[in-house]
């Protein structure tokens, strides 16, 4: 069955939900790709998302993997365009307008008001992901340790994720 139209619809829609960051769209990403379209399982989604955190560049490049699994290279290309097209267009047009609206009093209100909402949506995304990824004592310790270290030091997060892989290997792989 041709999944390309569904891929376009889903990722163009998700694109507009990424207020504050990609994580804000994660709950909808899970519902649509896992529960509605069955393109992948929830653990697979979490794995791809997590590995994607180590990749350079914008941190939602894991969508390419979903597109590629579902419909090969055309799927990957279509997902990229659907996911980044709408927000690119919006940033381009609104960006030009926004600079001219410097004196418009609602501009500050919109920025002030959307800031806490986007933080809330990002946190909601984190919690959705945590439900799937933190499943026991070891994973909880890894998550808390990475969180605490990142708030206290300037170590590159990619190194900590590699560290998580090593801990996972010893905790779950050598049984």
């Amino acid at each position: 069955m041709n999944q390309i139209p569904a891929l376009i619809r889903v990722f163009a829609y998700l694109s507009l939900l990424t207020v504050g960051g990609g994580m804000a769209a994660f709950p909808e990403l899970k519902i649509l790709t896992v529960e509605v379209h069955h393109w992948l399982t929830f653990p697979q989604l979490i794995h791809l998302y997590s590995v994607g955190q180590m990749a350079p560049g914008p941190n939602m490049m894991m969508i390419v993997s979903i597109g590629a699994w579902t419909a090969g290279i055309p799927g990957a290309v279509v997902v990229l365009i659907a996911f980044f097209g709408p927000t690119t267009l919006l940033a381009f047009t609104v960006g030009r307008l926004w600079m001219r609206l410097e004196k418009w009093p609602w501009r500050a209100s919109i920025q002030r008001g959307l800031a806490p909402v986007s933080i809330g949506l990002l946190l909601a995304g984190c919690l959705t992901m945590a439900k799937g990824a933190v499943t026991g004592l070891v994973t909880a310790v890894i998550a808390v340790a990475v969180f605490a270290i990142l708030l206290r030091s300037r170590i590159n997060p990619a190194l900590l994720i590699l560290g998580g892989a090593l801990v996972g290997l010893f905790a779950f792989g050598l049984k």
């Binding site: 990749a55 993997s65 927000t87 940033a91 959307l114 992901m129 590159n156 779950f172």
Partner: protein
């Protein structure tokens, strides 16, 4: 070699040619600069890489403009990294600059994640790979949570902000409302809450 100059040479340079010739940049230069950032910004926090590349190294923007574009990026839907690429690319060379910038910053990560998807499909269900991925996923939860907390520390200023944060979280995770519904409902209330207050210039009405 110990007669230190009165002004550090870096500072002299920095003030000398900010925004000297953004109009003369070629599409290739813009694409190349963003491609390099897209290929080297390991570990998230692309914004920091953008700042050091665009402001400190190339001096295509000054810091004030960078911060202003960043605030637009954060308000609009879309990832900060790609929104910044579009806004900066547009400033440097219009529409073509914006397209060059977003293609450059996305290409390396997209190719890498394509390769990952192939590898995962072949090897992803091996026990050793699954074991490592469980660790990676747990670490990623710590990372995204830390990123969110750091962003919150910077962008939240009032006690009321925490209430809006809590309502959004409860709406999505407890009440299982869809993200757009929560975004629009809480967003509209929060924007109205921070509506422009009369009395500064207009000074009319209650």
């Amino acid at each position: 070699m110990n007669d230190a100059p009165a002004v550090p040479p870096i500072l002299v340079e920095a003030t000398a040619d900010v925004l000297a010739s953004p109009g003369e940049l070629t599409i290739g230069q813009i694409f190349g600069a963003f491609l390099l950032i897209g290929a080297t910004s390991f570990g998230g926090g692309v914004v920091a890489y953008l700042r050091s590349g665009l402001v400190s190294k190339h001096r295509w923007l000054d810091d004030k403009t960078f911060v202003e574009l960043l605030s637009i990026s954060q308000t609009l839907p879309g990832l900060n990294a790609t929104n910044m690429a579009v806004l900066v690319g547009d400033r440097l060379r219009g529409l073509r600059g914006a397209i060059a910038a977003i293609c450059g910053i996305c290409l390396p990560g997209a190719l890498l994640m394509y390769a990952v998807s192939l590898a995962y499909h072949v090897r992803g269900d091996r026990p050793i790979v699954t074991a490592m991925l469980r660790g990676v996923a747990a670490a990623a939860v710590g990372l995204v949570l830390a990123t969110t907390v750091q962003l919150g520390r910077k962008s939240l200023a009032y006690v009321y902000d925490l209430i809006f944060v809590a309502i959004a979280v409860i709406g999505v995770n407890r009440l299982h409302q869809s993200v757009p519904r929560v975004l629009i409902a809480v967003g509209v209330v929060a924007i109205l809450w921070y509506r422009p207050r009369r009395g500064k210039k207009e000074g009319s009405g209650p």
